[in-house]
């Protein structure tokens, strides 16, 4: 009897700890959702219970966001930036990852670590010179500056990710293709790449989410509203003077967060084995 009670106490302690963690992590997002669906009189009344609707939920914030602000344009900008950066990143990182994994021998490892370390060079160290470079290229206040600069962290990241994957692929696959008459490069293009689609997909997803998450470069290079990517637009452009449009801000933040959250959850395990690949063999 006493044992059973202890057991129940232990179980409930465990589940309340889990619940506390979930509340801690998920509450701000619940807060985004509920704020975005509340009408303004409900939102700005301190006597109302804030956790639930005191008046009928409304879609007016979403409507305002799409009709009266540049939100749709920001989404489009982010999509264009993401796709261009993905294209540049794959072009550079796929051959580089394969080369470092299979072709340049013992130096490959050191070179790989070197490239990966550049991923750790923070934007706040480079934004000043890069903003001058961007300005001298005439790209200031244009989203194309981000297309130029974002590959500086996505290429190192994806090269590292793909290098780990190519190393894990059996050497025999490329060798068999070479024996059958492929050139070295042909073996890479015709055999290795088609078999790497899952890894390429992972690289694409993470490149895209990294471009969505980036904030510092976007903040530094772009002040024209129409050129902002969605993260920057929502965080800085929905404030008029001192007035925050909380309903609209939360609606925009929610819409921009959802795809990233889903992508991360689907690809989390590959992400972890990718970045820790060098630490646990």
């Amino acid at each position: 009897m006493r044992r059973a009670l202890l057991n129940i106490a232990g179980e409930s302690a465990f589940y309340s700890a889990v619940a506390a963690f979930v509340v801690l992590t998920a509450f701000p997002f619940y807060w985004m959702l509920i704020t975005s669906l509340k009408s303004n009189p409900d939102l700005y009344n301190v006597t109302n219970i804030p956790f639930w609707f005191n008046e009928t939920p409304t879609l007016e914030h979403f409507q305002y966001l799409f009709e009266q602000t540049l939100f749709a344009r920001w989404l489009l900008n982010s999509l264009i930036i993401g796709l261009c950066v993905v294209a540049i990143t794959l072009t550079a990182a796929l051959p580089a990852g394969y080369s470092l994994a299979r072709m340049v021998g013992r130096n490959g490892e050191a070179l790989g670590i070197g490239i990966f370390l550049t991923y750790l060079v923070p934007p706040t160290l480079l934004f000043l010179p890069l903003s001058r470079i961007v300005a001298s290229l005439g790209l200031q206040n244009s989203m194309w500056s981000l297309v130029l600069v974002y590959p500086t962290f996505t290429i190192p990241f994806c090269t590292w990710l793909l290098m780990g994957f190519f190393k894990a692929m059996p050497v025999e696959i490329a060798e068999a293709a070479i024996v059958d008459g492929c050139s070295l490069f042909g073996a890479f293009v015709r055999m290795v790449l088609p078999l790497s689609l899952p890894a390429i997909l992972t690289a694409v997803i993470f490149t895209f989410t990294l471009t969505l998450q980036e904030f510092v470069y976007a903040l530094t290079f772009i002040s024209a509203s129409a050129q902002k990517p969605v993260t920057l637009g929502v965080a800085t452009d929905l404030v008029r003077g001192d007035i925050f449009f909380w309903g609209e801000i939360m609606a925009g933040a929610l819409i921009a967060s959802i795809p990233v959250a889903i992508a991360y959850n689907l690809f989390l395990d590959r992400f972890i084995s990718g970045i820790t690949g060098g630490a646990v063999k």
């Binding site: 465990f14 992590t25 998920a26 701000p28 997002f29 985004m32 700005y44 804030p50 540049i88 550079a92 990182a93 051959p95 580089a96 072709m103 340049v104 021998g105 070179l111 550049t118 750790l120 923070p122 706040t124 160290l125 480079l126 934004f127 000043l128 010179p129 890069l130 903003s131 470079i133 590959p151 500086t152 290429i155 050139s183 070295l184 890479f188 969505l212 998450q213 904030f215 510092v216 903040l219 530094t220 929502v234 965080a235 909380w246 939360m250 933040a253 921009a256 967060s257 990233v260 959250a261 991360y264 959850n265 989390l268 972890i272 084995s273 970045i275 820790t276 060098g278 630490a279 646990v280």
Partner: protein, 309 residues
Amino acid sequence: MVSIAEPIAKPASRYRFILDRRDVLGSVMVAPAILYVLLLVGLPFLLAVYYSVSAYTIYDPSWHFVGLSNFRQIVSNPVFQDTLANTFLFTFGSQFLGLVLGKFGALLLMRPFPGRTIVRALIILPWAVPIALATVAWEWMFDSLYSVINWTLISLGIITRSEAPNWLGNPHLAMLCVIVVNAWRFFPFAIVIFLAGMTSIPQDVIDAATVDGAGFWRRNYQIVLPMIMPIVAVGLIFGIVFTFTDLSVVFLLTNGGPVGATSVLGFEGFQVGIVSGDVSHGAAISLFMLPVLFFVVVGMLRFIRRREI
């Protein structure tokens, strides 16, 4: 005598020799990535170093060399000394809090229970979602008038409305807020890292320790922790580097305020170099990050290497 058909000579491409030499092709394939990184990371880095010893501003883009006088001016400025102290407090406060929460969360998630997948998905959220957007949500939660935290405290009877704290308006509370938000953003990453390490430990090692009489804490601190150290070290590199150089959380949550109480190096570099256009001093401020980054990375790399041997 009938000759057997001669093998058809393939028209050899002029560049065929490149594609068949492993080392040459290897260098060609890795070149675009290295060039991109050299041009847009290496070159700007050197530029940053040069700006910091010049008198360059966006209004007067001269390359006039001034030696270390920028650094001397910065170091003697009390505002900068506060900024430096804030940066360390911010980094180590949020990393410590993040690691504690992360270890605890990982222990919870190790055990299978119904709904674990959904719980894991929800716990990952702060790290997955763009930090700028999550920070804006926190800003709204810390709002001076409509703060949901204050509302809860008031309705629980802990404080009255007149005592309700102005989270982002009080220097100490504002620092606490940026630390908490940053720890909140990082602890899911710490959980994931701890979990990855803990699941990579073979069960028989744990069993052997248990048979030998090691209890829960002993197993945890003398078997598990040393074994997951390399992977935790990698996680810590990321955590420290990205926190020490952070700009987004501080910029959006407090804008460095109130009166510079939460100003950190990244933010100060941005204010001076971009907002005020004083590129040379901004670059010099940013470069103060470098020694810390260098020590962290070198220390961790050596640590990992020693572990592997």
